[in-house]
Amino acid sequence: MDNGKDSRPDRIRGESMADACEIDAVLAHASVPLVPEGAVSRLMARIAEEPQVAKVMLFRPREEAPRRSLLRFATALPLAASLALGIYLGSKGTLDFMLPTAITGVAISEDSLDDLGGVGEADDYASESLL
């Protein structure tokens, strides 16, 4: 009736031990239904025909990814070398010929810088008009 598990001390809270014993005695008269023969087989046959609607597996945390420190250095090394080479060559001026003339200023004369609007030619026009 109680499957070998005595829960009496738990359930009799609020009633006397005598009352609890009486209840136990009366309920002991109740029928104990037996599982119909073949019930488990019938259930398993039904289970065999029923597809599982959701096969959701328990979540397992992913294993920790391997440390990437070596890979990170492998990437950073050529970048650092490229930066150092650029600074070195830039300071030597070896590759200045490859730079745009607008930056180096080699092809830009001071005249053109001073008279970008053509005002310097005004005298010429003035003298021609006087003549």
């Binding site: 009736m1 109680d2 499957n3 070998g4 598990k5 829960s7 738990d10 359930r11 809270r13 609020g14 009633e15 009352d19 009486e22 209840i23 136990d24 005695a25 009366v26 309920l27 002991a28 008269h29 109740a30 029928s31 104990v32 239904p33 599982v35 119909p36 019930a39 488990v40 019938r42 259930l43 398993m44 039904r46 289970i47 065999a48 029923e50 597809p51 599982q52 609607v53 959701a54 096969k55 959701v56 597996m57 328990l58």
Partner: protein, 197 residues
């Protein structure tokens, strides 16, 4: 018995549930072997011994099989199955049908034969019929605690009520039983003493 079956017998409910979720019929067979009997007994009492008690108990297991992952804690498997089965009984489409036991109680009712002593069969039918006449939730609480041996905490969890509420249901069930069996109470209590049970 296969080696797999032996291995499953040694697994916990949580392990079996995980294997069943992966589609293992053998694991689910072990779950059924462990828990079908108490679930069936509960449904039988809740339905008052109705003929479809087996179907209702089966439905609880089929519900579990279809989606084992809906049960988060394998340790609470039995309580979960009982709750699903009890809800199915309480559900409107499956109202308890205590007619069979009511009929039996008429046969066993000692008020019809005041001087006749109760024999064992009559006593069983009488007590069964009075239990079947209890309100559903009182009957469920009584069945879980007295007949299936769940602790108050386990039964409260299965019924999704507080422990205080469960104890209140139990107290009312005991009081109702004592009132409905008042005429035969002494015989039922004394009868056990005489038979040494």
């Amino acid at each position: 018995m296969t080696r797999d079956a032996t291995a499953f017998q040694q697994m916990t409910d949580a392990g079996l549930l995980e294997a069943a979720a992966a589609g293992s019929h053998a694991a689910f067979t072990e779950i059924v072997t462990r828990h079908f009997q108490p679930v069936y007994r509960l449904v039988w009492r809740m339905t008052g011994g109705a003929a479809d008690a087996e179907d209702v108990a089966q439905d609880a297991f089929v519900t579990l099989w279809k989606n084992p992952s809906q049960l988060r804690e394998g340790a609470a498997l039995r309580g979960w199955l009982m709750r699903v089965a009890a809800n199915a009984v309480i559900d409107g489409s499956r109202r308890p049908r205590p007619a069979a036991l009511d009929d039996a109680s008429e046969v066993a009712d000692p008020q019809m034969m005041p001087d006749a002593p109760l024999d064992r069969t009559q006593a069983a039918r009488l007590v069964d019929s009075r239990i079947a006449a209890l309100p559903e939730r009182q009957r469920l609480a009584l069945s879980l605690v007295y007949f299936e041996g769940l602790s108050n905490i386990e039964a409260a969890a299965a019924m999704e009520v507080s422990v205080d509420a469960l104890e209140s249901l139990l107290a009312r069930a005991r009081r109702s039983l004592k009132e409905s069996l008042s005429a035969e109470w002494r015989d039922l209590v004394g009868g056990l003493t005489e038979t040494g049970q």
